[in-house]
Protein backbone atom coordinates (compact mmCIF):
# COMPACT_ATOMS: atom_id res chain seq x y z
CA UNK A 1 0.00 0.00 0.00
CA UNK A 2 1.21 3.46 -0.87
CA UNK A 3 2.91 5.59 1.76
CA UNK A 4 0.76 8.70 2.06
CA UNK A 5 -0.09 10.63 5.18
CA UNK A 6 -3.49 10.82 6.83
CA UNK A 7 -3.28 14.53 6.13
CA UNK A 8 -2.95 13.93 2.37
CA UNK A 9 -5.90 11.56 2.37
CA UNK A 10 -8.01 14.07 4.31
CA UNK A 11 -6.99 16.84 1.88
CA UNK A 12 -8.02 14.70 -1.12
CA UNK A 13 -11.33 13.75 0.49
CA UNK A 14 -12.11 17.42 1.13
CA UNK A 15 -11.17 18.32 -2.42
CA UNK A 16 -13.47 15.61 -3.78
CA UNK A 17 -16.38 17.04 -1.78
CA UNK A 18 -15.67 20.44 -3.33
CA UNK A 19 -15.69 18.92 -6.82
CA UNK A 20 -18.94 17.06 -6.14
CA UNK A 21 -20.54 20.30 -5.00
CA UNK A 22 -19.49 21.93 -8.29
CA UNK A 23 -20.91 18.99 -10.28
CA UNK A 24 -24.28 19.28 -8.52
CA UNK A 25 -24.41 23.06 -8.98
CA UNK A 26 -23.26 23.06 -12.62
CA UNK A 27 -25.78 20.47 -13.75
CA UNK A 28 -28.58 21.96 -11.65
CA UNK A 29 -27.85 25.44 -12.99
CA UNK A 30 -28.43 24.39 -16.60
CA UNK A 31 -30.85 21.54 -15.81
CA UNK A 32 -28.90 19.15 -18.00
CA UNK A 33 -25.64 17.26 -18.10
CA UNK A 34 -24.54 14.02 -16.49
CA UNK A 35 -24.04 14.20 -12.72
CA UNK A 36 -24.06 10.45 -11.93
CA UNK A 37 -20.99 9.43 -13.92
CA UNK A 38 -19.17 12.62 -12.94
CA UNK A 39 -19.58 11.77 -9.26
CA UNK A 40 -18.55 8.13 -9.67
CA UNK A 41 -15.29 9.24 -11.35
CA UNK A 42 -14.75 12.09 -8.90
CA UNK A 43 -12.29 10.41 -6.54
CA UNK A 44 -10.19 9.05 -9.42
CA UNK A 45 -10.04 12.51 -11.02
CA UNK A 46 -9.26 14.10 -7.66
CA UNK A 47 -6.42 11.68 -6.99
CA UNK A 48 -4.93 12.39 -10.41
CA UNK A 49 -5.28 16.19 -10.49
CA UNK A 50 -4.51 16.86 -6.82
CA UNK A 51 -1.79 14.26 -6.24
CA UNK A 52 -0.38 12.36 -9.19
CA UNK A 53 -0.50 14.38 -12.42
CA UNK A 54 2.48 16.49 -13.39
CA UNK A 55 0.69 19.49 -14.93
CA UNK A 56 1.13 23.26 -14.81
CA UNK A 57 -2.11 25.28 -14.68
CA UNK A 58 -0.22 28.43 -15.70
CA UNK A 59 1.13 26.64 -18.78
CA UNK A 60 -1.54 24.17 -19.92
CA UNK A 61 0.39 23.31 -23.11
CA UNK A 62 3.69 22.59 -21.34
CA UNK A 63 5.15 19.83 -23.55
CA UNK A 64 6.46 17.74 -20.63
CA UNK A 65 3.11 17.53 -18.83
CA UNK A 66 1.33 14.27 -18.11
CA UNK A 67 -1.71 13.81 -20.32
CA UNK A 68 -5.16 13.24 -18.86
CA UNK A 69 -7.73 11.94 -21.35
CA UNK A 70 -11.39 11.74 -20.39
CA UNK A 71 -12.81 9.16 -22.74
CA UNK A 72 -16.24 9.23 -21.07
CA UNK A 73 -16.81 12.80 -22.22
CA UNK A 74 -20.25 13.15 -20.65
CA UNK A 75 -18.51 13.20 -17.25
CA UNK A 76 -16.82 16.51 -18.12
CA UNK A 77 -18.37 18.37 -15.14
CA UNK A 78 -15.86 16.60 -12.89
CA UNK A 79 -13.03 17.46 -15.30
CA UNK A 80 -14.00 21.13 -15.50
CA UNK A 81 -14.40 21.30 -11.72
CA UNK A 82 -10.94 19.78 -11.21
CA UNK A 83 -9.33 22.08 -13.77
CA UNK A 84 -10.93 25.15 -12.22
CA UNK A 85 -9.93 24.14 -8.68
CA UNK A 86 -6.39 23.48 -9.92
CA UNK A 87 -6.28 27.00 -11.36
CA UNK A 88 -6.56 26.38 -15.10
CA UNK A 89 -9.44 28.89 -15.27
CA UNK A 90 -11.59 30.79 -12.77
CA UNK A 91 -13.93 28.77 -10.56
CA UNK A 92 -16.66 31.37 -11.31
CA UNK A 93 -16.69 30.17 -14.88
CA UNK A 94 -18.06 26.75 -13.90
CA UNK A 95 -21.62 28.03 -13.90
CA UNK A 96 -21.34 28.90 -17.62
CA UNK A 97 -21.26 25.13 -18.29
CA UNK A 98 -23.48 24.21 -21.28
CA UNK A 99 -24.57 27.83 -21.78
CA UNK A 100 -24.24 29.82 -24.99
CA UNK A 101 -20.80 31.42 -25.57
CA UNK A 102 -19.22 29.35 -22.78
CA UNK A 103 -15.74 27.85 -22.79
CA UNK A 104 -17.25 24.83 -21.01
CA UNK A 105 -19.04 22.85 -23.68
CA UNK A 106 -21.56 20.09 -22.92
CA UNK A 107 -18.89 17.62 -23.95
CA UNK A 108 -15.15 18.41 -23.97
CA UNK A 109 -13.72 20.50 -26.79
CA UNK A 110 -10.00 20.99 -27.39
CA UNK A 111 -8.75 24.54 -27.74
CA UNK A 112 -11.56 26.27 -25.87
CA UNK A 113 -11.14 24.98 -22.31
CA UNK A 114 -7.66 25.39 -20.81
CA UNK A 115 -6.35 21.97 -19.79
CA UNK A 116 -8.74 19.88 -21.86
CA UNK A 117 -6.68 17.43 -23.92
CA UNK A 118 -9.28 15.55 -25.95
CA UNK A 119 -12.70 15.92 -27.51
CA UNK A 120 -15.13 13.27 -26.33
CA UNK A 121 -18.83 12.64 -26.45
CA UNK A 122 -18.93 9.88 -28.99
CA UNK A 123 -17.86 7.05 -26.71
CA UNK A 124 -14.93 4.74 -27.16
CA UNK A 125 -12.34 6.97 -28.82
CA UNK A 126 -10.35 8.11 -25.80
CA UNK A 127 -8.26 4.99 -25.25
CA UNK A 128 -7.14 5.02 -28.90
CA UNK A 129 -6.27 8.70 -28.61
CA UNK A 130 -4.29 7.86 -25.47
CA UNK A 131 -2.41 5.12 -27.34
CA UNK A 132 -1.36 7.78 -29.88
CA UNK A 133 -0.16 10.08 -27.10
CA UNK A 134 1.76 7.28 -25.41
CA UNK A 135 3.39 6.25 -28.71
CA UNK A 136 4.47 9.86 -29.30
CA UNK A 137 6.09 10.00 -25.86
CA UNK A 138 7.89 6.77 -26.62
CA UNK A 139 9.15 7.91 -30.06
CA UNK A 140 10.54 11.06 -28.46
CA UNK A 141 11.98 9.25 -25.40
CA UNK A 142 9.91 11.43 -23.07
CA UNK A 143 9.01 10.45 -19.53
CA UNK A 144 5.55 12.02 -19.34
CA UNK A 145 2.70 9.59 -18.85
CA UNK A 146 -0.82 9.29 -20.25
CA UNK A 147 -3.85 8.58 -18.04
CA UNK A 148 -7.18 7.71 -19.63
CA UNK A 149 -10.47 7.49 -17.74
CA UNK A 150 -13.07 5.35 -19.48
CA UNK A 151 -16.63 4.54 -18.51
CA UNK A 152 -17.83 0.98 -18.18
CA UNK A 153 -20.53 1.66 -20.78
CA UNK A 154 -17.67 2.38 -23.18
CA UNK A 155 -16.58 -1.21 -22.86
CA UNK A 156 -19.45 -1.92 -25.29
CA UNK A 157 -17.61 -0.03 -28.02
CA UNK A 158 -15.52 -2.09 -30.43
CA UNK A 159 -12.90 0.62 -30.76
CA UNK A 160 -12.08 0.31 -27.04
CA UNK A 161 -10.85 -3.21 -27.74
CA UNK A 162 -9.02 -2.17 -30.91
CA UNK A 163 -7.13 0.26 -28.69
CA UNK A 164 -6.61 -2.44 -26.08
CA UNK A 165 -4.87 -4.67 -28.61
CA UNK A 166 -2.73 -1.82 -29.95
CA UNK A 167 -1.57 -0.72 -26.49
CA UNK A 168 -0.45 -4.22 -25.56
CA UNK A 169 1.14 -4.80 -28.98
CA UNK A 170 3.39 -1.81 -28.31
CA UNK A 171 3.83 -2.62 -24.61
CA UNK A 172 2.80 0.88 -23.59
CA UNK A 173 3.82 0.94 -19.94
CA UNK A 174 3.56 4.74 -20.04
CA UNK A 175 -0.21 4.41 -20.42
CA UNK A 176 -2.59 3.88 -17.51
CA UNK A 177 -6.31 3.40 -18.07
CA UNK A 178 -9.07 3.60 -15.50
CA UNK A 179 -12.47 1.99 -15.93
CA UNK A 180 -15.06 3.80 -13.85
CA UNK A 181 -16.98 0.63 -13.08
CA UNK A 182 -20.20 2.10 -11.71
CA UNK A 183 -22.31 -0.61 -13.35
CA UNK A 184 -24.83 1.76 -14.90
CA UNK A 185 -25.13 3.22 -18.39
CA UNK A 186 -27.78 5.44 -19.95
CA UNK A 187 -30.58 2.91 -20.21
CA UNK A 188 -29.87 0.60 -17.33
CA UNK A 189 -27.42 -1.76 -15.60
CA UNK A 190 -24.42 -2.60 -17.74
CA UNK A 191 -24.97 -6.31 -17.15
CA UNK A 192 -28.51 -6.02 -18.57
CA UNK A 193 -27.68 -3.75 -21.52
CA UNK A 194 -24.57 -5.65 -22.60
CA UNK A 195 -22.90 -7.94 -20.08
CA UNK A 196 -19.24 -7.04 -19.52
CA UNK A 197 -18.21 -9.63 -16.97
CA UNK A 198 -15.74 -11.17 -16.62
CA UNK A 199 -14.22 -7.75 -17.37
CA UNK A 200 -10.87 -8.16 -15.62
CA UNK A 201 -10.27 -11.43 -17.44
CA UNK A 202 -11.04 -9.75 -20.76
CA UNK A 203 -8.33 -7.14 -20.18
CA UNK A 204 -5.94 -9.82 -18.93
CA UNK A 205 -6.59 -11.72 -22.13
CA UNK A 206 -5.64 -8.56 -24.00
CA UNK A 207 -2.28 -8.68 -22.19
CA UNK A 208 -2.86 -5.71 -19.92
CA UNK A 209 -1.71 -5.52 -16.30
CA UNK A 210 -5.06 -5.46 -14.48
CA UNK A 211 -5.75 -4.01 -11.04
CA UNK A 212 -9.09 -4.17 -9.24
CA UNK A 213 -9.73 -1.48 -6.65
CA UNK A 214 -12.37 0.40 -4.71
CA UNK A 215 -12.63 3.58 -6.76
CA UNK A 216 -13.64 5.64 -3.74
CA UNK A 217 -10.69 4.65 -1.54
CA UNK A 218 -7.87 7.16 -2.06
CA UNK A 219 -5.19 4.82 -0.67
CA UNK A 220 -6.20 2.14 -3.15
CA UNK A 221 -6.35 4.65 -6.04
CA UNK A 222 -2.91 6.10 -5.27
CA UNK A 223 -1.42 2.63 -4.75
CA UNK A 224 -2.78 1.49 -8.10
CA UNK A 225 -1.35 4.56 -9.86
CA UNK A 226 2.04 3.85 -8.29
CA UNK A 227 1.90 0.21 -9.24
CA UNK A 228 1.06 1.20 -12.81
CA UNK A 229 4.05 3.54 -12.87
CA UNK A 230 6.30 0.68 -11.71
CA UNK A 231 4.92 -1.87 -14.16
CA UNK A 232 7.19 -2.34 -17.17
CA UNK A 233 6.45 -3.71 -20.61
CA UNK A 234 2.64 -3.61 -20.35
CA UNK A 235 -0.07 -1.01 -20.03
CA UNK A 236 -2.09 -1.07 -16.83
CA UNK A 237 -5.86 -0.90 -16.52
CA UNK A 238 -7.32 -0.07 -13.13
CA UNK A 239 -10.85 -1.37 -12.82
CA UNK A 240 -12.27 0.92 -10.18
CA UNK A 241 -15.49 -0.27 -8.56
CA UNK A 242 -17.50 2.87 -8.06
CA UNK A 243 -21.03 4.02 -7.24
CA UNK A 244 -22.92 6.13 -9.73
CA UNK A 245 -23.92 9.40 -8.07
CA UNK A 246 -21.45 8.73 -5.21
CA UNK A 247 -21.59 11.25 -2.37
CA UNK A 248 -25.27 12.16 -2.44
CA UNK A 249 -27.27 9.34 -0.94
CA UNK A 250 -30.50 9.78 -2.90
CA UNK A 251 -28.54 9.84 -6.18
CA UNK A 252 -26.37 6.82 -5.48
CA UNK A 253 -26.78 3.86 -7.77
CA UNK A 254 -29.79 5.43 -9.52
CA UNK A 255 -30.02 5.01 -13.28
CA UNK A 256 -31.98 8.27 -13.49
CA UNK A 257 -29.01 10.43 -12.48
CA UNK A 258 -26.89 9.29 -15.41
CA UNK A 259 -28.36 12.15 -17.38
CA UNK A 260 -30.68 14.09 -15.08
CA UNK A 261 -29.93 17.17 -13.01
CA UNK A 262 -31.30 17.75 -9.52
CA UNK A 263 -34.49 19.73 -8.89
CA UNK A 264 -34.36 22.83 -6.67
CA UNK A 265 -35.45 20.78 -3.68
CA UNK A 266 -32.93 18.01 -4.41
CA UNK A 267 -30.19 20.61 -4.85
CA UNK A 268 -30.68 21.79 -1.25
CA UNK A 269 -30.63 18.24 0.05
CA UNK A 270 -27.53 17.34 -1.95
CA UNK A 271 -25.59 20.43 -0.90
CA UNK A 272 -26.55 19.91 2.75
CA UNK A 273 -25.30 16.34 2.63
CA UNK A 274 -22.00 17.37 1.04
CA UNK A 275 -21.71 20.17 3.59
CA UNK A 276 -21.93 17.73 6.46
CA UNK A 277 -19.39 15.42 4.80
CA UNK A 278 -16.96 18.31 4.57
CA UNK A 279 -17.58 19.28 8.20
CA UNK A 280 -16.89 15.71 9.33
CA UNK A 281 -13.46 15.87 7.68
Amino acid sequence: MVDVSEETIRRLKKQAVVLRRHIIRMTHNVQSGHPGGSMSACDIVTALYFHSLNVDPKNPDWPERDRFVLSKGHACPVWYAALAERGFFPVDELLTFRKIDSRLQGHPEVGTTPGVENAAGAEGQGLSFSVGLALAARVDHKSWRTYCVMGDGEQDVGQTWEAGMAASKYGLDNLTAFIDRNGIQQEGRTEDIMPLEPLAEKWEAFNWHVLNIDGHDFRQILSAIEEAQRTKGRPTVIIARTVKGKGVSFMENKIKYHGAATTDEELKMALAELESQEAAL
Binding site: P63, S128, F129, G132, A166
Partner: protein, 319 residues
Protein backbone atom coordinates in the same frame (compact mmCIF):
# COMPACT_ATOMS: atom_id res chain seq x y z
CA UNK B 1 -4.16 22.82 -80.41
CA UNK B 2 -4.22 19.29 -79.11
CA UNK B 3 -4.83 18.96 -75.42
CA UNK B 4 -4.89 15.24 -74.95
CA UNK B 5 -2.18 12.62 -74.70
CA UNK B 6 -0.69 10.25 -75.32
CA UNK B 7 0.32 10.07 -71.70
CA UNK B 8 2.55 7.87 -69.63
CA UNK B 9 0.51 5.70 -67.23
CA UNK B 10 1.86 5.74 -63.68
CA UNK B 11 0.94 4.66 -60.16
CA UNK B 12 -0.15 7.36 -57.73
CA UNK B 13 0.60 4.98 -54.86
CA UNK B 14 4.25 4.76 -55.92
CA UNK B 15 4.58 8.52 -56.00
CA UNK B 16 2.84 8.67 -52.62
CA UNK B 17 5.16 6.12 -51.01
CA UNK B 18 8.31 7.80 -52.32
CA UNK B 19 7.17 11.29 -51.34
CA UNK B 20 6.39 10.09 -47.83
CA UNK B 21 9.88 8.62 -47.39
CA UNK B 22 11.47 11.85 -48.62
CA UNK B 23 9.27 13.90 -46.31
CA UNK B 24 10.15 11.61 -43.41
CA UNK B 25 13.84 12.15 -44.12
CA UNK B 26 13.42 15.94 -44.04
CA UNK B 27 11.07 16.05 -41.07
CA UNK B 28 11.58 13.75 -38.07
CA UNK B 29 8.13 14.66 -36.70
CA UNK B 30 6.39 12.80 -39.51
CA UNK B 31 4.87 9.48 -38.40
CA UNK B 32 2.64 7.03 -40.27
CA UNK B 33 -0.14 4.70 -39.13
CA UNK B 34 -1.45 1.79 -41.16
CA UNK B 35 -4.26 -0.75 -41.16
CA UNK B 36 -3.04 -3.94 -42.81
CA UNK B 37 -2.70 -2.23 -46.20
CA UNK B 38 0.81 -0.81 -45.81
CA UNK B 39 2.32 -2.89 -48.58
CA UNK B 40 -0.45 -2.10 -51.02
CA UNK B 41 -0.49 1.63 -50.34
CA UNK B 42 3.33 1.74 -50.15
CA UNK B 43 3.67 3.15 -46.65
CA UNK B 44 5.76 0.07 -45.92
CA UNK B 45 8.67 1.90 -47.60
CA UNK B 46 8.40 4.57 -44.91
CA UNK B 47 8.48 1.81 -42.29
CA UNK B 48 11.62 0.31 -43.83
CA UNK B 49 13.32 3.70 -43.77
CA UNK B 50 12.06 4.67 -40.30
CA UNK B 51 11.02 1.52 -38.40
CA UNK B 52 10.17 3.45 -35.22
CA UNK B 53 7.81 5.82 -37.00
CA UNK B 54 5.41 3.44 -38.77
CA UNK B 55 2.67 1.92 -36.60
CA UNK B 56 0.88 -1.11 -38.00
CA UNK B 57 -2.48 -1.18 -36.22
CA UNK B 58 -4.25 -3.98 -38.03
CA UNK B 59 -7.75 -4.00 -39.48
CA UNK B 60 -8.96 -1.40 -37.01
CA UNK B 61 -9.35 1.87 -38.86
CA UNK B 62 -11.28 3.80 -36.16
CA UNK B 63 -8.44 3.04 -33.76
CA UNK B 64 -5.90 3.96 -36.46
CA UNK B 65 -7.45 7.41 -36.89
CA UNK B 66 -7.67 8.10 -33.14
CA UNK B 67 -4.08 6.91 -32.64
CA UNK B 68 -3.02 9.29 -35.41
CA UNK B 69 -4.92 12.03 -33.58
CA UNK B 70 -3.15 11.26 -30.32
CA UNK B 71 0.23 11.32 -32.07
CA UNK B 72 -0.68 14.66 -33.65
CA UNK B 73 -1.88 16.05 -30.31
CA UNK B 74 1.64 15.37 -28.98
CA UNK B 75 3.23 17.33 -31.84
CA UNK B 76 3.58 14.80 -34.63
CA UNK B 77 2.46 15.15 -38.23
CA UNK B 78 0.53 11.91 -38.52
CA UNK B 79 -0.23 10.34 -41.89
CA UNK B 80 -2.99 7.73 -41.78
CA UNK B 81 -3.13 5.79 -45.01
CA UNK B 82 -5.37 3.03 -46.26
CA UNK B 83 -8.14 2.44 -48.83
CA UNK B 84 -10.67 5.22 -49.14
CA UNK B 85 -13.74 3.22 -48.08
CA UNK B 86 -12.04 2.34 -44.80
CA UNK B 87 -10.28 5.66 -44.26
CA UNK B 88 -13.39 7.78 -44.75
CA UNK B 89 -16.72 5.98 -44.40
CA UNK B 90 -15.72 3.40 -41.78
CA UNK B 91 -14.02 6.02 -39.61
CA UNK B 92 -16.27 9.00 -40.22
CA UNK B 93 -17.29 9.89 -36.68
CA UNK B 94 -13.75 9.32 -35.44
CA UNK B 95 -12.42 11.67 -38.11
CA UNK B 96 -15.15 14.10 -37.13
CA UNK B 97 -14.54 14.13 -33.36
CA UNK B 98 -10.86 13.25 -32.95
CA UNK B 99 -9.45 14.94 -36.07
CA UNK B 100 -11.65 17.72 -37.48
CA UNK B 101 -13.33 18.96 -34.28
CA UNK B 102 -10.01 18.68 -32.46
CA UNK B 103 -8.25 20.41 -35.40
CA UNK B 104 -5.22 18.15 -35.46
CA UNK B 105 -2.37 17.58 -37.88
CA UNK B 106 -3.72 14.29 -39.19
CA UNK B 107 -3.30 13.70 -42.90
CA UNK B 108 -5.57 10.95 -44.20
CA UNK B 109 -4.26 9.64 -47.52
CA UNK B 110 -6.44 7.08 -49.23
CA UNK B 111 -5.99 5.11 -52.41
CA UNK B 112 -8.59 2.87 -54.06
CA UNK B 113 -11.01 5.76 -54.52
CA UNK B 114 -13.84 5.53 -57.01
CA UNK B 115 -14.99 2.95 -59.53
CA UNK B 116 -11.53 2.33 -60.98
CA UNK B 117 -10.77 0.04 -58.03
CA UNK B 118 -12.17 -2.47 -60.52
CA UNK B 119 -12.81 -6.18 -59.87
CA UNK B 120 -13.09 -5.84 -56.06
CA UNK B 121 -16.54 -4.42 -56.69
CA UNK B 122 -18.90 -2.01 -55.01
CA UNK B 123 -17.82 -2.66 -51.40
CA UNK B 124 -14.41 -1.23 -52.27
CA UNK B 125 -15.43 1.45 -54.79
CA UNK B 126 -15.68 4.55 -52.65
CA UNK B 127 -17.76 7.06 -54.57
CA UNK B 128 -18.94 9.06 -51.56
CA UNK B 129 -15.78 10.17 -49.74
CA UNK B 130 -15.34 13.63 -51.26
CA UNK B 131 -18.82 14.59 -50.12
CA UNK B 132 -18.34 13.12 -46.65
CA UNK B 133 -15.04 14.87 -46.12
CA UNK B 134 -15.90 18.25 -47.62
CA UNK B 135 -18.87 18.33 -45.27
CA UNK B 136 -16.57 18.41 -42.24
CA UNK B 137 -15.58 21.82 -40.86
CA UNK B 138 -11.79 22.45 -40.94
CA UNK B 139 -11.12 19.59 -43.40
CA UNK B 140 -8.97 20.24 -46.45
CA UNK B 141 -9.90 17.88 -49.31
CA UNK B 142 -7.42 17.01 -52.06
CA UNK B 143 -7.85 14.92 -55.22
CA UNK B 144 -4.56 14.83 -57.14
CA UNK B 145 -4.87 14.25 -60.88
CA UNK B 146 -1.79 12.09 -61.27
CA UNK B 147 1.40 10.72 -59.72
CA UNK B 148 3.45 13.93 -59.52
CA UNK B 149 0.51 15.80 -58.05
CA UNK B 150 0.02 13.03 -55.46
CA UNK B 151 3.63 13.51 -54.38
CA UNK B 152 3.06 17.24 -54.13
CA UNK B 153 -0.05 16.68 -52.04
CA UNK B 154 2.10 14.88 -49.46
CA UNK B 155 4.40 17.88 -49.01
CA UNK B 156 1.57 20.39 -49.16
CA UNK B 157 -0.51 18.47 -46.60
CA UNK B 158 2.44 18.35 -44.21
CA UNK B 159 3.05 22.06 -44.57
CA UNK B 160 -0.48 23.21 -43.67
CA UNK B 161 -1.77 23.12 -40.13
CA UNK B 162 -4.81 20.96 -39.50
CA UNK B 163 -6.62 17.99 -40.99
CA UNK B 164 -6.29 16.93 -44.62
CA UNK B 165 -8.05 14.22 -46.61
CA UNK B 166 -6.49 13.16 -49.92
CA UNK B 167 -7.90 10.48 -52.23
CA UNK B 168 -6.41 8.85 -55.29
CA UNK B 169 -6.65 5.79 -57.51
CA UNK B 170 -5.65 2.16 -57.24
CA UNK B 171 -5.13 1.92 -60.97
CA UNK B 172 -2.37 3.60 -62.97
CA UNK B 173 -3.42 6.99 -64.28
CA UNK B 174 -2.16 9.28 -67.08
CA UNK B 175 0.65 11.57 -65.98
CA UNK B 176 -0.47 15.08 -66.90
CA UNK B 177 1.77 17.23 -64.74
CA UNK B 178 5.43 17.24 -63.84
CA UNK B 179 7.31 17.51 -60.58
CA UNK B 180 8.42 20.98 -61.75
CA UNK B 181 4.86 22.29 -61.91
CA UNK B 182 3.46 24.58 -59.28
CA UNK B 183 1.15 23.02 -56.72
CA UNK B 184 -0.56 24.84 -53.91
CA UNK B 185 -3.50 23.84 -51.76
CA UNK B 186 -6.51 25.92 -52.73
CA UNK B 187 -5.36 26.54 -56.28
CA UNK B 188 -7.01 25.23 -59.44
CA UNK B 189 -4.87 24.82 -62.56
CA UNK B 190 -5.91 25.68 -66.09
CA UNK B 191 -4.60 22.87 -68.28
CA UNK B 192 -6.03 24.09 -71.56
CA UNK B 193 -7.33 27.50 -72.47
CA UNK B 194 -10.69 28.24 -74.01
CA UNK B 195 -13.50 30.75 -73.85
CA UNK B 196 -16.67 28.89 -74.91
CA UNK B 197 -17.12 26.56 -71.96
CA UNK B 198 -15.19 25.33 -68.90
CA UNK B 199 -14.60 21.67 -68.09
CA UNK B 200 -13.62 21.19 -64.44
CA UNK B 201 -12.30 17.78 -63.48
CA UNK B 202 -10.49 16.10 -60.62
CA UNK B 203 -8.46 12.93 -60.38
CA UNK B 204 -8.57 10.60 -63.35
CA UNK B 205 -11.32 12.70 -64.94
CA UNK B 206 -8.93 15.56 -65.72
CA UNK B 207 -7.48 13.49 -68.57
CA UNK B 208 -11.01 12.74 -69.82
CA UNK B 209 -11.77 16.48 -69.79
CA UNK B 210 -8.67 17.12 -71.91
CA UNK B 211 -9.80 14.42 -74.36
CA UNK B 212 -13.27 15.95 -74.46
CA UNK B 213 -11.75 19.38 -75.18
CA UNK B 214 -10.04 17.90 -78.25
CA UNK B 215 -13.35 16.56 -79.57
CA UNK B 216 -15.10 19.86 -78.87
CA UNK B 217 -12.33 21.77 -80.66
CA UNK B 218 -13.16 19.87 -83.84
CA UNK B 219 -16.70 21.25 -83.54
CA UNK B 220 -15.33 24.76 -83.11
CA UNK B 221 -16.02 24.84 -79.38
CA UNK B 222 -13.03 26.10 -77.42
CA UNK B 223 -13.15 24.49 -74.01
CA UNK B 224 -11.15 25.65 -71.03
CA UNK B 225 -10.00 22.71 -68.91
CA UNK B 226 -9.40 23.19 -65.21
CA UNK B 227 -7.70 20.64 -63.01
CA UNK B 228 -9.22 20.99 -59.53
CA UNK B 229 -6.95 19.13 -57.10
CA UNK B 230 -8.26 21.03 -54.07
CA UNK B 231 -11.95 20.47 -53.51
CA UNK B 232 -11.88 22.34 -50.23
CA UNK B 233 -11.08 25.17 -49.97
CA UNK B 234 -12.19 25.87 -53.55
CA UNK B 235 -10.20 28.23 -55.74
CA UNK B 236 -13.03 30.75 -55.85
CA UNK B 237 -11.40 33.37 -58.13
CA UNK B 238 -10.40 30.83 -60.80
CA UNK B 239 -13.82 29.18 -60.88
CA UNK B 240 -15.78 32.44 -60.82
CA UNK B 241 -13.55 33.85 -63.57
CA UNK B 242 -14.16 30.76 -65.68
CA UNK B 243 -17.91 31.07 -65.14
CA UNK B 244 -17.85 34.73 -66.16
CA UNK B 245 -15.57 34.28 -69.16
CA UNK B 246 -16.99 31.06 -70.59
CA UNK B 247 -20.61 31.14 -69.41
CA UNK B 248 -21.07 27.39 -68.95
CA UNK B 249 -19.47 24.66 -66.84
CA UNK B 250 -19.24 20.88 -66.97
CA UNK B 251 -17.79 19.11 -63.94
CA UNK B 252 -16.35 15.59 -64.09
CA UNK B 253 -15.53 13.36 -61.14
CA UNK B 254 -15.07 9.71 -60.25
CA UNK B 255 -17.56 10.14 -57.40
CA UNK B 256 -21.28 10.43 -56.89
CA UNK B 257 -22.80 13.59 -58.34
CA UNK B 258 -24.99 13.86 -55.22
CA UNK B 259 -22.38 15.70 -53.15
CA UNK B 260 -19.07 15.79 -54.98
CA UNK B 261 -17.13 18.44 -56.88
CA UNK B 262 -20.04 19.23 -59.19
CA UNK B 263 -22.17 20.10 -56.18
CA UNK B 264 -19.31 22.16 -54.74
CA UNK B 265 -18.77 24.09 -57.97
CA UNK B 266 -22.49 24.61 -58.61
CA UNK B 267 -23.13 25.90 -55.11
CA UNK B 268 -20.29 28.37 -55.59
CA UNK B 269 -21.19 29.78 -59.01
CA UNK B 270 -24.86 30.12 -58.13
CA UNK B 271 -23.87 33.00 -55.82
CA UNK B 272 -22.38 35.48 -58.29
CA UNK B 273 -22.24 33.89 -61.73
CA UNK B 274 -25.23 31.59 -62.15
CA UNK B 275 -24.21 29.92 -65.39
CA UNK B 276 -25.57 26.52 -66.44
CA UNK B 277 -23.68 23.61 -64.86
CA UNK B 278 -23.80 19.94 -65.86
CA UNK B 279 -22.29 17.21 -63.72
CA UNK B 280 -20.61 14.10 -65.08
CA UNK B 281 -19.97 11.48 -62.44
CA UNK B 282 -21.43 8.42 -60.83
CA UNK B 283 -25.19 8.72 -60.63
CA UNK B 284 -26.90 7.85 -57.33
CA UNK B 285 -25.89 4.20 -57.47
CA UNK B 286 -23.32 1.62 -56.39
CA UNK B 287 -20.70 0.17 -58.71
CA UNK B 288 -19.89 -3.46 -59.54
CA UNK B 289 -16.98 -5.71 -60.51
CA UNK B 290 -15.17 -5.16 -63.79
CA UNK B 291 -11.97 -3.69 -65.19
CA UNK B 292 -11.37 -0.03 -64.43
CA UNK B 293 -11.90 1.30 -67.95
CA UNK B 294 -14.95 -0.93 -68.48
CA UNK B 295 -16.51 0.49 -65.32
CA UNK B 296 -15.73 4.08 -66.20
CA UNK B 297 -17.40 3.48 -69.59
CA UNK B 298 -20.44 1.68 -68.19
CA UNK B 299 -21.09 4.34 -65.56
CA UNK B 300 -20.64 7.23 -67.98
CA UNK B 301 -17.29 8.60 -66.86
CA UNK B 302 -15.97 9.13 -70.40
CA UNK B 303 -14.85 11.93 -72.70
CA UNK B 304 -17.98 11.28 -74.79
CA UNK B 305 -20.24 11.91 -71.80
CA UNK B 306 -18.37 15.13 -71.07
CA UNK B 307 -18.76 16.22 -74.71
CA UNK B 308 -22.52 15.49 -74.57
CA UNK B 309 -22.83 17.41 -71.32
CA UNK B 310 -20.91 20.33 -72.85
CA UNK B 311 -23.22 20.50 -75.85
CA UNK B 312 -26.16 20.35 -73.43
CA UNK B 313 -25.06 23.27 -71.23
CA UNK B 314 -24.20 25.37 -74.28
CA UNK B 315 -27.75 24.77 -75.57
CA UNK B 316 -29.18 25.71 -72.14
CA UNK B 317 -27.11 28.87 -72.09
CA UNK B 318 -28.43 30.06 -75.46
CA UNK B 319 -32.08 29.47 -74.59
Amino acid sequence: MTAAGPWKMESQRSYFGKALVELGRRNPDVVVVGADTTESIKTIDFGRAFPDRLFQLGIAEPNMISVAAGLAAAGKIAFAATYSVFGSAHTYNVVRQNVAYTNLNVKIFCSHAGLSVGPDGATHQMNEDIGLMRGLPRMTVLVPADGPQTAKCVDAAASVKGPVYCRFSRTNVPTLTSMDDDFRIGRAYTMHDGSDITLIGCGVMVSKCLQAADVLAKEGIRARVINLPTIKPLDVPTIEKAARETGAIVTAEEHTVVHGIGAAVASLVVNNDPVPVAMVGVEDTFGESGEAEELLRKYGLTPEKIVDAARGVIRRRSR
